[in-house]
């Protein structure tokens, strides 16, 4: 069976896996974005807090994904839980860092002007600082998504959802006639998903970055 025949016979399974993969990454990204931006908002105004946030999240990133998921299994069990936790944690660093950089990069004169015309602290954050910091935050989200696409494959190790199952199955049966096809299909599927997501972000950027600050 060549690769194309393999795809033809398994497309339903593959599509289901791809959908689950995308869905897992998407949901974890939403979670990571919410947490990441929140952490950024809380920490960007103090030097040490910002450092601490960036340092913590980058420390998480240095833990090998397989090890992290393996360590999570005894705590939260198999399946979706360790996948979601691991992916969300990994997604944090680019978002937190870019949120802090973006919020700190807002022209202090503008913040001064916002205060001067009588905007309260929450209004300043929501109407001025976050919109202006949004382009770098969106970049962080893009980078994080690319990363999670690959890491999500490892989640299959903990019986998680997604295209990783395909890859692990192939790796486990190396030598059998479909092993290579399985690994290839899983890997290519992830690459294609990543590209689709990226296109989605470009579109999102077009829609959400105001024309006045678009590069």
């Amino acid at each position: 069976m060549n690769f194309w025949e393999y795809l033809g016979s398994r497309h339903q399974q593959l599509l289901a896996d791809a959908f689950q993969h995308a869905s897992a990454v998407f949901q974890c990204m939403v979670l990571a974005t919410l947490i990441g931006v929140l952490v950024g908002v809380v920490t960007y105004r103090t030097e040490w807090a910002g450092h601490l946030a960036t340092l913590t999240t980058s420390t998480i990133l240095t833990v090998p994904s397989l090890a992290l998921i393996g360590l999570l299994i005894p705590v939260v069990g198999l399946g979706v839980a360790p996948t979601v936790i691991a992916l969300t944690l990994y997604g944090l660093l680019p978002i937190v860092r870019n949120a802090i950089v973006g919020l700190r990069g807002v022209d202090p004169d503008l913040v001064d002007a916002a205060r001067g015309i009588g905007m309260s602290r929450p209004a300043r954050l929501l109407r001025v600082e976050l919109p202006l910091a949004w382009p770098p935050i969106l970049t962080g989200i893009r980078v994080a998504t690319q990363m999670l696409m690959g890491i999500a494959a490892v989640a299959a190790y903990a019986s998680g959802p997604g295209l990783g199952n395909e890859i692990f199955r192939g790796l486990a049966s190396l030598g059998s006639k479909n092993a290579l096809n399985q690994v290839l299909a899983g890997t290519l599927g992830i690459v294609i998903l990543a590209l689709l997501f990226d296109a989605g972000y470009v579109l999102l950027g077009r829609l959400t970055i105001p024309r006045g600050i678009r590069a």
Binding site: A113, R115, G116, M119, L132, P210, G212
Partner: protein, 412 residues
């Protein structure tokens, strides 16, 4: 229809002080002043003198460490700063427009925050754009980066005035635009103020701007100490001390040019010939004298043409065709500033000076001007040094007396 706008409010500063932790000296030290309703007051002083800090304490962008601020009699030192700032317009140097919002959205910010209805906000935005001289239809939907510096500044002022605050604070609002635009914006502000009668507090380091805009000027020295707080005329004619006169005198060289006439300085004597001089003689003259150029006068002695050595050759000896016509002259009554203008625009950097009937009396060029300005400034400096010396002597005597007094007290 223009809504009737709120006129200005009084502002009283009472012993206003700002100390920063870790600095032994306060940044603003015990400032008290009264600003009348509808008055434009300019804070002017060298950079770092605390004028901006003082301004920002009025809307409590910087919280004072001591003292009191009263606006229209109400003590605002303790009220919610956000509420306070919505009653005070604020315009800053870089215009402070939010780049992600359109012009209309920027202007609408404060009225919307104060809870105006949507149609009222929309009308107000149009009205404000109109007020600052921008066509609402054209500028409404633009983003700040699509505007020139001057237009941004206008929108900044429109935003500051949008909720019709009685007080307008302006922190070097025209500092970052080119001189021509600045001039326009200043004129606009004067026009606006004639219509609106707000209480405006305006910070600048440009004394000329202060003179142009201010009803009264507060000249501030370090730590925001008021060196003089008076009308522009009074400050110009009667500066309180040498600090103020020093500040007024900044740019003295150019101001001097306005006060001095060509007649008062030494002009240069240029080699001249008249149209009646035989050609042969002119040739000889050009060859014999060390100069490259002579001035040809017409029959009535008026400057007619500049003749260079090669000109006659090229024109094959015809005076009618040779040389370049004199197209600009200055009279002896012209100011040095006019003369400088003429010298700068002349392509060879010299200009003929004429007497009452247009007759030639001399030539000024860059060198003449530079020399005379140097002499004038030197004279000014000597005068100032004498005044300074007198002052130091007077102070020394005063300190002497004070110390003596102190010593006496301690002993007692």
């Amino acid at each position: 229809m223009r809504e009737s706008s709120v006129a200005g409010a009084t502002i009283e500063l009472e012993n206003l002080t700002k100390r920063y932790p870790g600095h032994p000296e306060p940044a603003v030290d015990n400032v008290s002043m009264e600003i009348r309703a509808g008055e434009t007051v300019i804070f002017v002083g060298p950079s770092g003198c605390g004028k901006s800090t003082t301004l920002k304490m009025i809307n409590r962008l910087i919280e004072p460490t001591g003292g009191r601020i009263r606006i229209d009699g109400e003590d605002v030192t303790r009220i919610d700063p956000v509420r306070l700032r919505r009653k005070i317009g604020y315009a800053i140097q870089s215009s402070g427009l939010f780049p992600h919002l359109t012009v209309a959205q920027n202007i609408a910010l404060v009225p919307r925050m104060t809870g105006w209805s949507k149609p009222r906000v929309r009308d107000r935005v149009e009205e404000m754009l109109d007020l600052v001289g921008l066509d609402p239809g054209d500028f409404h939907g633009r983003y700040p980066r699509q505007l020139s510096g001057g237009q941004q500044q206008r929108v900044g002022v429109a935003r500051a005035l949008a909720a019709d605050p009685p007080v307008l604070l302006m922190d070097e609002p025209f500092g970052a635009v080119d001189p021509i635009t600045r001039d326009h914006l200043q004129d606009e502000l004067i026009r606006l103020q004639r219509e609106l009668h707000k209480t405006i507090v305006f910070v600048t380091h440009d004394f000329d701007e202060a003179i142009k805009l201010g009803d009264r000027i507060a000249v501030l020295r370090e730590r925001s100490h008021i060196a003089q707080f008076d009308t522009p005329e009074a400050i110009l004619t009667n500066p309180a001390d040498d600090f103020v006169s020093g500040f007024v005198g900044a740019g003295a060289a150019l101001k001097r040019l306005n006060l001095t006439r060509v007649r008062d300085v030494e002009v240069r004597d240029y080699p001249t010939v008249t149209v009646d001089t035989p050609l042969q003689q002119i040739f000889g003259f050009l060859r014999g004298s060390g100069t490259n150029e002579i001035l040809l006068l017409d029959r009535r002695g008026r400057p007619y043409k500049w003749l260079r050595r090669g000109d006659l050759m090229r024109a094959r000896g015809s005076l009618a065709r040779a040389g370049t016509l004199v197209h600009d002259t200055v009279t002896r009554d012209a100011t040095l500033r006019d003369a400088l203008e003429a010298v700068l625009t002349d392509n060879a950097g010299r200009v003929a000076v004429t007497g009452r009937r247009g007759e030639y009396t001399g030539v000024v060029d860059m060198e003449t001007l530079i020399n005379s300005v140097h002499e004038l400034l030197e004279a000014d400096r000597l005068e100032a040094m004498e005044a300074q010396a007198e002052l130091v002597e007077a102070r020394a005597q005063q300190t002497h007396v004070e110390q003596e007094g102190h010593g006496g007290e301690e002993k007692a």
